[in-house]
């Protein structure tokens, strides 16, 4: 009897135990999954992503793929949905090699593919970290970005640039659809440096052109570099810039205001307001923003205005504010000193934030982006005392300071609750009445910059320190 009771309970627990098994549906047995790897050898490099590509298939359904590179701390499992079952999957997985890995390392990437029937296969890919991924470097000599070609003086466009690449240059290509240019130079010897120099003839009608230069290297996984250059061919200058820097100075390293955009234009009569911060200040006028060539207006030996990169500077004799007029067509100019009459924002260093307007004292700080410590809250502008501008003791119309820029710059110089405020719009204009012009964005290399807000000129100068 006892034996029967024992057997009864044994059977009962056996049934209960089996009833407690995992109820997940089982899949029937199937063939092993398959893998087709795109390439058995992958190049990588520190700080750079590489791609693992493979085509996975299974006759019933894929369950997961596991990617392992123990040396690089990668152990990734991609799990697939089983409703519906997935029978094919194109693996495309990117992974960035840590910066501290050596370029001479060779590693194995292990792939494990499992299907829903728990069949698993493995495969390996070789990973080399000595890949070269830098695109050929194109250094433009002429024309520079934004170059102006004055058709009245010449309709020729010299194109001159240098290409460099460590693994050798396969070819270069120059294209401009509007001019019908599509020229490819194949370089069978794959030199590490190549100079291109050729002059093209432009139509005599004014137009804007985009010159596209492409260069490709000879690495196992080729790299391609591309550069677009905008060129303006015109019968008259769209803008003239005032440059108070010596020739040869890079005009693209400062963030804002160098060279200075004109204040007024009537036909080809351009008018500038300018502050000479010392006696005998030397100036040039430029037909383009980013370079002294091709149009640089200075003086010839007899003191007349000429358009020549070899010209000598115009000299403002004494320190102070000037109105300067120039016509690049008639090659005439005039200079007149004046005394400003606009509001002086004095004593801003003793500004005071106060809810009561009567007790408020103006300060000038900055709101914006790309400036360390600043955001778009005027309270932050007040709290971050390092952003406060000070009066220039030598010029009451200039507020000066020093900012650390972190990237693309946007700025509005402001006091409490935007009163007063100068919004920095395009062309370095810092205006109190911006109209519909929003804040302009200025690309800037991270670093420390000197800041001048000239309230008389309504211009901002942010120059690399």
């Amino acid at each position: 009897m006892k034996k029967n009771v024992f057997l009864f309970f044994l059977a009962l627990f056996a049934v209960l135990f089996s009833g407690c098994q995992n109820d997940e549906s089982d899949f029937p047995s199937s063939d092993d999954p398959t893998i087709a790897i795109a390439t058995k050898e992958i190049y990588g490099a520190p700080n750079r992503k590489f791609e693992i590509k493979a085509a996975l298939e299974d006759d019933l359904g894929l369950k997961s793929v596991r990617i392992q590179i123990p040396e690089l701390s990668l152990d990734k499992i991609i799990t697939f949905s089983t409703d519906p079952l997935l029978t094919a999957y194109d693996l495309s997985y990117f992974f960035e090699v840590p910066a501290d890995r050596g370029t001479s390392e060779a590693l194995k990437i292990k792939l494990t593919i499992t299907d829903v029937s728990e069949n698993a296969i493995e495969d390996e890919i070789n990973l080399r970290l000595d890949g070269e991924f830098a695109a050929p470097l194109i250094s433009m000599i002429t024309p520079k970005e934004g170059a102006v070609i004055l058709l009245s003086s010449s309709n020729e466009m010299p194109v001159n640039f240098v290409v460099n690449d460590d693994s050798g240059i396969d070819y270069i290509q120059i294209q401009c659809a509007a001019l019908g240019i599509d020229e490819m130079v194949q370089l069978p010897d794959a030199p590490q440096s190549y100079t291109f120099n050729k002059t093209y003839t432009l139509p005599v009608t004014a137009a804007n052109y985009v010159l596209t230069i492409t260069a490709k290297d000879k690495f196992a996984i080729p790299n391609t570099g591309t550069l677009n250059i905008n060129v303006v061919a015109t019968n008259e200058y769209p803008a003239i810039y005032l440059c108070d820097q010596p020739k040869g100075t890079s005009l693209t390293t400062d963030a804002v205001g160098v060279p200075m955009y004109f204040h007024d234009k009537n036909g080809q009569d351009f008018e500038f307001k300018y502050y000479a911060d010392k006696d005998n200040k030397e100036l040039y006028f430029l037909g383009q923003e980013s370079d002294f060539a091709p149009h640089c207006f200075g003086l010839d030996a007899s003191g007349n205005l000429i358009d020549d990169v070899t010209s000598t500077p115009i000299i403002l004799p004494t320190k102070g504010y000037y109105t300067i007029k120039i016509n690049p067509n008639t090659l005439s100019y005039s200079v007149a000193k004046y005394t400003p009459s606009s509001k002086v924002w004095a004593d801003i260093a003793n500004g005071l934030w106060h809810d009561d307007e009567a007790q408020r004292r103006p300060f000038v700080s900055v709101c914006g982006g790309g400036i360390q410590g600043a955001d778009w809250d005027t309270w932050t502008a007040w709290v971050q005392t390092g952003l406060h501008l000070a009066n220039n003791p030598e010029n009451p119309y200039q507020l000066v300071g020093e900012y650390t820029l972190t990237g693309t710059l946007e700025a509005t110089f402001t006091g409490q609750w935007w009163s007063p405020s100068w919004r920095l719009i395009q062309n370095g204009i810092g205006t109190m009445s911006p109209g519909e012009n929003g804040n302009a964005k200025y690309p800037a290399a991270p670093g420390v910059y000197k800041v001048i807000l000239d309230t008389e000129l309504e211009r901002v100068f942010i120059t690399k320190k």
Partner: protein
């Protein structure tokens, strides 16, 4: 001779009979030695009876010394005493608990407990008075099944009371309080526990429908103490003690703070914030000790005088309550008086009037969190070399680089108090022209005045960050005059012995009026106390004022019928007209019907009488409403704001709210089924109830569609959406006595399930509490909604594997030690769509356990309360663990936070930047189990009777909130609703933080009767 013998025999027999008779005298008193007039005294087995007189005395002649006398009186257990030759008997009657003859208040009437057909729970005042609390509802916690009370710490704080969960999302959830028949709104802070005779909680709609449009959150009826016929009796009750305020966190000292912050800085690639932490050793500023008192006093005292004759009874009480804040200044003080007079001019005509003058004053700083958050290195006062002697007394304090304003200075500046003065007059006239017909009219006038004053002194602790350059004074006086008038006629009739009916009809009118006037000014010449007046302000004077009103007119009726005390049927009907709604929906009807079957009175149950003393089935249906929305939502309003137009800031007007002529009440319908039982002569008794309720036409403040042309911030109240809830209430009581030892236990159990049935559109998402809660269809309202924190990244391999299927990192800024957020929808991106339900503020169960023991004159009671299954958002986690801010952190955080593989899976690494948004993303990191078990009260008492010149003297020692069991790591697991001003009462429930804790309290009590 023969006749002589017979005469002698007869004479002797008579003599014997006369000699066998015995006159017994004595007094009948209750346990408190109070004489009980009107007690029935019957010689058992005879028709000889009498009643005790005014002083509880009786005299009765019994046939012989073996006779038995039975004493009976309503509300007391019958007592039978064998004479046994005694001529003097002093009897003590025991009060009966929950006998079926007890009277229950049901709204505009009282009925016997046995005749109740709805879901009504009663609690006696003396049960509530075992705790010393400012708001009596806190004492209700755990004593009534179906009522969830969430305590609120702080002087004058009001607990959250939910009766059978919530039935609204956007309106108030508090029940309606009715004191002596007069609706008194949704707060009873003004009421002393010592004034209360009993509380009756109307839980289902069949009970509360008689209060119509304000009853959807349930109704609590409060009956205050009245005089009783008998000699004048004096009582004095005093409890006094201390509330303990321990620092809930062990904060870092100066050296530890420096170590923690240095780690946060260096982990983010910065140089150390406070190099050489050891230099701060022994230089900690103990802010907590400097500003927070370890204990604050609490007192509750009451002096009562009551008594009266057949023609006039009276009860006068003077009550005082005081609870100090733990800041050393401020608190809550309340003085109330209740003078109740009842007159019986004849058998037909009676009247009564109750006067209730009250005074309250409250105000206390609220910055206790700052004492923990401010850095421990900053000194309290500026060093002497930073003072130049010209500073005022509020400017001598030091400024903390942590941006936390000096809390000691803030407390010193505090001057923000409110005084409240009220007088309530409540009177009635009652006329009984014929037997069974009662006309009653009752009126009440409440006049109140609240004066709020605030003075902010000028000070400069730091010229840039912590200052008020000009002082200011503000005062607001609010006056309210409310009146209520209700008249009822009730006719009760029994016929053919078994048919008992009662019909009540009546009408009520209520009007609530308020007005305020406000003044503001700046530039008071100095900060001295005597100058803190508006007239002293010299600059920027401003003033304002407003008035408001709402009214309600109603018709009410109730029909009750029972057959042979077995079958009961009750129907009520109320028709409400409210000033809050326009003509289309000004009037609404609120009917209810309920019935019960007292099966224990059936003949076929006779054989079970020895076990089943009482058994009853109940069922009810009713409809109630919620009109707790602002007074004038039917109006269109113009708002004002400043907007930039061009370069000018322009003062503009815009349509802020629009009228909705069709606006109407939220309507709640519910059904209720219940079983009441009493076993073994009611030693074991209880009830179990199941209910379902549905809210329709819910009131929502909605924005206009863009195409309507209204600004996005214009709103309109509208009736959309519905919700449904159900639940079970269970009460089990057991009581027994063994010789001098008696004991009892009450267990209450409450469960509520709530689900939104519909919103204004199928896929509408209602966010609350800064988008941290969500309310959607088919889910409970206001659940916590955020990211799932799936532990911490322990190593680079875990970081590298947290990608989509193409290797794109889901958290590109994460480092080992940061939180791994779950890609809930599996789309390979971590964004808003990965937020999900991460917790619920609503408890699965609430359980109360109330134990009482007595041995001779010694008594002990213990109350437990628990909330099970709810979660709490612990908002302090960021303050305590986040290295991004400069506020102080918990001690040892540098070791507690992740600092290497396997060191922690819950506290993220210290980081100055928190680029992974460990703390700024609202995630399950903040959500903790909020369940708790709390010993609300333990009280040991000893009573002396007729000693020291008192009828009764009782001494007691109590401990309130002394012990709590919880996994919640925050300050206080009793966390209530969100900010009602933001419509977050429901949608913002369950957010814990630096809320004023419910404090452990130790009290001594003295009760005197003479």
């Amino acid at each position: 001779m023969k006749y002589r013998f017979i005469w002698l025999c007869i004479a002797m027999l008579c003599t014997v009979a006369t000699f066998g008779q015995l006159t017994v005298k004595g007094t009948v008193k209750d346990k408190g030695a109070v004489p009980i007039p009107g007690v029935n005294v019957i010689v058992k087995g005879t028709t000889v009876s009498t009643a005790t007189d005014f002083d509880g005395n009786f005299s009765i002649t019994v046939p012989n010394k073996e006779s038995q006398i039975e004493f009976s009186f309503i509300g007391f257990t019958n007592k039978t005493v064998k004479v046994d030759g005694q001529t003097t008997l002093n009897i003590v009657l025991q009060e009966a608990n929950q006998t079926l003859d007890e009277v229950v208040v049901v709204g505009y009437a009282t009925v016997k407990k046995s005749d109740v057909t709805s879901s009504i729970a009663s609690v006696k005042g003396k049960e509530l008075q075992t705790m010393t609390v400012g708001n009596v509802t806190e004492s209700l916690q755990g004593k009534v099944a179906g009522v969830q009370v969430t305590g609120a710490g702080g002087p004058g704080a009001q607990p959250r009371v939910l009766i059978r969960g919530i039935s609204t999302v956007n309106l108030d959830t508090d029940p309606l309080y009715v004191v002596d028949g007069i609706p008194m709104g949704t707060s009873i802070n003004f009421l002393s526990t010592n004034e209360i005779e009993s509380m009756d909680v109307l839980k289902d709609a069949s009970a509360s429908a008689i209060y119509g449009s304000r009853a959807s959150n349930g109704v609590i009826l409060i009956t205050t103490k009245k005089g009783k016929v008998g000699k004048t009796r004096f009582t004095f009750d005093l409890s006094t003690g201390i509330q303990v305020m321990n620092n809930p966190y062990n904060m870092a000292d100066a050296e530890s703070y420096a170590t923690i912050m240095n780690k946060a800085y260096t982990n983010s690639g910065y140089t150390e914030y406070l190099p050489n932490p050891e230099q701060y050793r022994g230089k900690t500023t103990d802010w907590w000790r400097a500003g927070i008192k370890q204990s604050a006093t609490i007192q509750n005292a009451s002096l009562g005088i009551s008594g009266g004759s057949e023609k006039h009874t009276f009860a006068v009480s003077l009550n005082y309550y005081n609870s100090d804040s733990f800041y050393g200044i401020g608190g809550w003080e309340r003085i109330t008086m209740r003078i109740a007079n009842d007159f019986k001019f004849s058998d037909k005509f009676s009247a009564g009037v109750t006067l209730n003058p009250r005074y309250e004053t409250w105000g206390a700083p609220g910055n206790w969190a700052d004492f923990d958050k401010i850095d421990p290195i900053t000194p309290i006062y500026k060093p002497a070399d930073q003072l130049n002697g010209t500073e005022n007394e509020y400017s001598i304090y030091a400024r903390s680089p942590s941006y936390v304003w000096n809390p000691v200075a803030a407390v010193a500046r505090f001057d923000d108090y409110t005084d409240q003065y009220n007088l309530n007059t409540n009177g009635y006239l009652q006329y009984i022209p014929v037997k069974g017909l009662v006309f009653r009219t009752q009126g009440s006038i409440e006049v109140g005045d609240r004066v709020w004053s605030k003075f902010s002194p000028d000070f400069v602790i730091d010229a840039a960050h912590e200052k008020a350059e000009i002082n200011s004074i503000e005062r607001r006086a609010t006056t309210n005059v409310d009146w209520t008038w209700q008249t009822t006629a009730t006719y009760s009739k029994s016929f053919a012995e078994k048919h008992n009916t009662s019909l009540m009809v009546g009408a009520t009118m209520e009007e609530y009026n308020g007005s305020d006037v406000w003044g503001y000014g700046e530039g008071v010449p100095n900060n001295s106390d005597s100058m803190r007046e508006l007239n002293a302000a010299t600059k920027n004077r401003n003033s304002g004022g407003n008035s408001w009103s709402n009214s309600l007119m109603s018709y009410i009726s109730r029909l009750s019928y029972n057959y042979d005390n077995k079958y009961y049927l009750t129907g009520t009907f109320r028709r409400d007209g409210s000033s809050k709604f326009m003509a289309n929906n000004k009037w609404a009807n609120f009917p209810s019907v309920s019935g019960s079957w007292r099966i224990s009175n059936e003949g076929f149950m006779e054989s079970t009488k020895s076990v089943i003393s009482d058994l009853r089935f109940r069922a009810g249906w009713g409809r109630v409403g919620n009109q707790n929305l602002p007074n004038a939502v039917y109006q269109s309003n113009i708002g004002q704001g400043f907007y930039p137009i061009g370069v000018d800031i322009v003062d503009t007007a815009f349509p802020s709210t629009m009228a909705n002529k069709d606006i109407k009440w939220e309507t709640v319908e519910d059904i209720n089924f219940g079983i009441d039982f009493g076993l073994w002569k009611n030693k074991l008794s209880g009830s179990i109830e199941y209910y379902e309720k549905e809210t329709k036409d819910m009131l929502f403040l909605k924005q206009f569609a863009t195409y309507s042309g209204f600004p996005a911030y214009s709103t309109i109240w509208t009736n959309v959406g519905s919700m449904r809830s159900n639940g079970v209430d269970l009460l089990i009581s057991y009581k027994d006595k063994k010789g001098d030892f008696s004991y009892g236990a009450d267990l209450t159990f409450t469960t509520v399930n709530i689900k939104m049935v519909s919103l204004s559109s199928e896929d509408e998402k209602l966010y609350g509490s800064s988008n941290r809660t969500l309310t959607v269809k088919d889910e409970e309202p206001g659940y916590f909604y955020g990211y799932v924190a799936d532990g911490l990244f322990q190593n680079q391999t875990e970081l590298n594997s947290h990608t989509d299927e193409h290797g794109n990192k889901l958290q590109p800024y994460a480092k080992a030690g940061d939180i791994r957020f779950k890609d809930v929808n599996g789309d390979g991106k971590l964004d808003d769509k990965d937020r999900t339900k991460i917790g619920s503020p609503w408890a699965d169960y609430n359980v109360g356990l109330n134990l009482n023991f007595a041995y001779k004159n010694l008594d002990l009671l213990v109350n437990f309360y628990s909330s099970i299954g709810n979660e709490i958002v612990n908002q302090n986690i960021s303050d305590l663990y986040n290295g991004a801010s400069l506020t102080n952190k918990v001690s040892g955080l540098d070791q507690m936070a992740w600092h290497g593989e396997g060191t922690s899976n819950s506290v993220p690494r210290l980081s100055k930047d928190d680029n992974n948004e460990n703390f700024t993303k609202f995630s399950s990191l903040y959500v903790e189990d909020g369940s708790f078990l709390r010993m609300k009260n333990i009280q040991l008492g000893y009573s002396f009777y007729n000693k020291f010149g008192f009828e009764k003297l009782r001494l007691s020692l109590s401990g309130q909130n002394l012990w709590t069991l919880t996994n919640y790591s925050g300050v206080e697991p009793e966390v209530g609703g969100g900010d009602p001003n933001n419509g977050d009462r429901v949608k913002g429930a369950g957010f814990g933080g630096w809320n004023y804790p419910v404090q452990p309290t130790v009290l001594m009590g003295l009760n005197l009767a003479f």
